[in-house]
């Protein structure tokens, strides 16, 4: 049986509250000098205390050895099988700029690029034009209506933008327009199944118009599109868990992912302290909070070991503002590892604490990769976090007689 179906069948509403703190890219690798990871290096008395009162373990966001992107990493934490619910690249890009997708919208990732007189791509990134230039060029292309389909063209960063096609009966099963190499001509977008002919035709008409509109804007004199995709149908957290969930996140992509599973996105500031202030203000109005901390991942991506340590310490200092609200269940973990040594996401499992009155604490009294190996939760799939949190909140009925 599908796990979401199972949980949907046994979940029940109750006043108890769950707070899920996702410290993005939390897991690390030991510094060659000290033999300690970022988390092990950080001074974290509050996290350590929570670890000693809670039950700990290690999670695999997608599977052993698999390095997750942000979307599968978060879907798994929300209890959704990341293999079953695949968020297309286009959709994720749209979500990442806070674009409000409607059901049925088709989103594609776009690049401004340079083509030569023969129409061959000479620079797939148009010399990485500035954010300002990107925004200006997007305005040229935004708002077209082609055969009754409305187009949105919105800047992302540098040469990157998003195109959203809004109309009736559009299917995303079309090929990319992006040749993925220089010296080649952009491909014609073609339908991968007959019902997607309309979408392919509209994409090709858009590309023809874009070519004309951009002709004088060298180096950004053409666009490439790829990753046409449609918002997957995700059952909401209200449907599955009977929760009233809210998201507190500084970065748009995480707000977007939260929206995809039906969370309400709360207005917040840009610091960890402001995020926790938002939690406190809204605490009475929801029974589930997803609180996202971005800085750890950014520092990891930058290879900034010390920076990541500092942000973990900042989270630790802020923790009493969370625990003083006395949520019935607190979960602290990450969506994937981002070791500063690798300067990117990695496959390493993540430490997790689940704290509740009913958690049956283990003997782990320190929040670290090493200590969590011997935690009472063992090593398990991130998709199991939500069933465990729900159980600890006494929000699940018995399965079977």
């Amino acid at each position: 049986m599908d796990s979401l179906e199972l949980i949907k069948g046994i979940s029940r509403p109750s006043p108890s509250k769950i707070v899920l703190v996702v410290i993005d890219g939390l897991g690390g690798l030991p510094s060659p000098e000290t033999g300690q990871t970022e988390l092990e290096t950080a001074k974290t008395p509050n996290l350590d205390q929570l670890a000693s009162q809670g039950i700990c373990g290690l999670i695999d966001p997608v599977g052993p050895g698999i390095t997750p992107g942000s979307a599968p990493g978060h879907l798994a934490l929300f209890g959704y099988d990341p293999f079953k619910f695949d968020i297309g690249r286009g959709v994720l890009e749209a979500v990442g700029i806070d674009f409000d997708l409607n059901p049925g919208d088709i989103a594609a990732r776009g690049n401004f690029c340079t083509i030569d007189e023969a129409g061959l791509v000479t620079d797939r990134r148009a010399g990485r034009i500035s954010n300002e230039k990107c925004a200006e060029l997007c305005q040229l292309l935004d708002g077209m209506v082609i055969d009754g389909v409305k187009l949105f063209v919105r800047p992302v960063r540098e040469h990157r933008f998003v195109t959203v096609f809004r109309g009736k009966g559009l299917l995303s099963e079309v090929s990319d327009f992006d040749p993925q190499q220089t010296g080649a001509a952009p491909k014609v977008v073609s339908a991968l199944k007959p019902q997607a002919n309309t979408m392919a035709a509209i994409a090709n008409k858009f590309l023809a118009r874009a070519k004309i509109a951009l002709a004088e804007h060298h180096p950004a004199n053409m666009v490439l599109l790829r990753g046409f995709s449609q918002q997957p149908h995700l059952p909401t957290m209200a449907e599955v868990y009977k929760l009233k969930p809210a998201a507190i996140a500084v970065y748009p992509m995480y707000r977007g992912l939260a929206k995809l599973v039906g969370m309400e996105v709360l207005e917040t500031g840009t610091t960890i302290a402001e995020e926790l202030a938002t939690l406190k203000q809204s605490y009475a109005d929801y029974d589930f909070f997803f609180l996202h901390i971005k800085g750890t991942d950014s520092a990891g991506e930058d290879g900034d070991f010390e920076g990541k340590v500092r942000i973990i310490e900042e989270v630790d200092k802020a923790l009493p503002n969370l625990t003083s609200l006395n949520p019935e269940v607190v979960v602290i973990t990450g969506d994937h590892s981002t070791p500063a040594l690798l300067k990117g996401h990695s496959w390493h499992p993540l430490p997790v604490i689940i704290y509740s009155q009913w958690c049956r604490p283990d003997r782990v009294n320190e929040f670290s990769e090493q200590a969590c190996i011997s935690g009472g939760l063992g090593r398990f799939a991130a998709t199991q976090i939500m069933p465990l949190a729900m159980a600890n909140a006494l929000k699940l009925n018995k399965f079977g007689a």
Copy 2:
């Protein structure tokens, strides 16, 4: 590949013997005073010795966070996926009173209830009539034959009874007759698919006759039926494991569950000592024994921490009567946790010992939730117990060349 299919393909008969001891509701939660669970509080020198000679771990009966009922908890221990083999409520109730179901029988849970002159239900439990009254009223209804289908009506407890419909070609896909609320009229039983029309018609005729038969028996002047179900087809343990299995259990539900997977149910007494005497007497005749201890679960359900501790100690004292038989494999575990603090089943994983000459012992030398966290078996699904027991009994061939 389905696990049962896999095991069926590689299992082989041999003289070695497996004893599976299920201490019902074994897992617990720590007492706030001592920080120790029921099992950790109990003095268990014999279990501790077995733990040090065996290999230990923690099992999830159904899945992390899922609180299992007795049926899925036991099916998992017998190696059957509890999601795939769903035991219907009616069947479980029949099994729970030792009613001998035939293949094709349809069982439904029944309540005596009170209806008013308009036919509306005023008390779904008929004021919880006595066991004696229930038995007396069941006799009034028992033994009818309707359109060639024989009916059995047997008392369970207070207002509860079981109805079994025995005939050819009956299907259980019919709606409940129970409105599940007072002030409403019982529903007409209707077929949920066309082939179930016969079953629905017979159920409605039974209900009409019951109304007449009970008219003068206020407050128990009507019946409600729900949970129509049919014994699922379970491959027997003889088919899957090539075992000759026997069950020793005091309570009828566990004998019934054992029968569903083809175990022979042995006559026994009501105490742990008597159960072990039965094991000894029958030891030569079978190669697999399921020995069920009920008292731990009952004490847990009652919130009786000390009572549960005492029963665990009683099991420990009796253990030498088992180990002195020198079974090749001994498995000690439970079907789910029943912490006295929660007064009910819970989701917490269960400690397990697998002892055999070939088990490759770990360093656990104490049978407890805490100690088993670091056991060599790790944390795993209860359905894997049987493959492990079979392997340790050297009853499985190599998989693949």
